[in-house]
Symmetry: C2
């Protein structure tokens, strides 16, 4: 993995992100600094970084993949009101439980919740 300015910009953009940006959001952001960058390059690098364990790819149904610099095990909650994605961490990882219950070897799992976040709950007028 050689060093290129594209990869550098992509990595920095994620590392500085507070949301969980999609490939396209990162593309739009980086484009301002480096207008010649291609969306394919963004995807390519995000996947490389993810498979190197530098960043994490979050895959949720019905929405584009998102990327996260927080590589420690944690899960995600999508707010159906505001569309934001929040992190949460269960007291203990589920790998073992799943193995016990299923009798299979678990390599990884993804836990994604949908609901309403705190902010949106408070602003609700029902």
């Amino acid at each position: 993995m050689i060093r290129t300015k594209q990869r550098e910009l992509i990595k920095n953009a994620i590392m500085e992100s507070t949301t969980h940006p999609t490939a396209d959001e990162l593309f739009q952001e980086i484009r301002i600094k480096l207008p010649t960058i291609s969306l394919a390059t963004v995807y390519r690098n995000l996947n490389m970084l993810a498979s190197d364990g530098v960043i994490r790819k979050i895959q949720m149904p019905d929405m584009p993949d998102r990327f996260d610099w927080r590589i420690a095990v944690h899960d995600h909650l999508y707010c159906e009101k505001c569309g934001k994605v929040f992190d949460f961490t269960l007291p203990e990882a589920l790998d073992e439980q799943i193995e016990q219950v299923s009798g299979m070897k678990v390599k990884q799992y993804s836990l994604v919740a949908r609901g309403i976040c705190n902010d949106c709950m408070q602003h609700e007028q029902n």
Copy 2:
């Protein structure tokens, strides 16, 4: 939701399935009995049945949606070797835990694991 033979066939096909078929797999199967059926109809009806709670839609990253007649809460494990999808059920649902940890209102969640199933473990030659 009026009664049509297409809907009937789709529902039956799922109810009799032992795997967790995709829309296209169901389409190919039903096509034999009713060659004029359209893939769009299969999708439309599967989504209707799912939102009516008659069947369940299973969404996993990197593969097409699958459908399941088992509507009771349960989770899924995808075997990376043979490609089959297995069911499992944790001792208790996670909604509450997630709510406590995240402080949000959880409407639903999806837990999908990847790994190696029992059969494939035993046939492995490593």
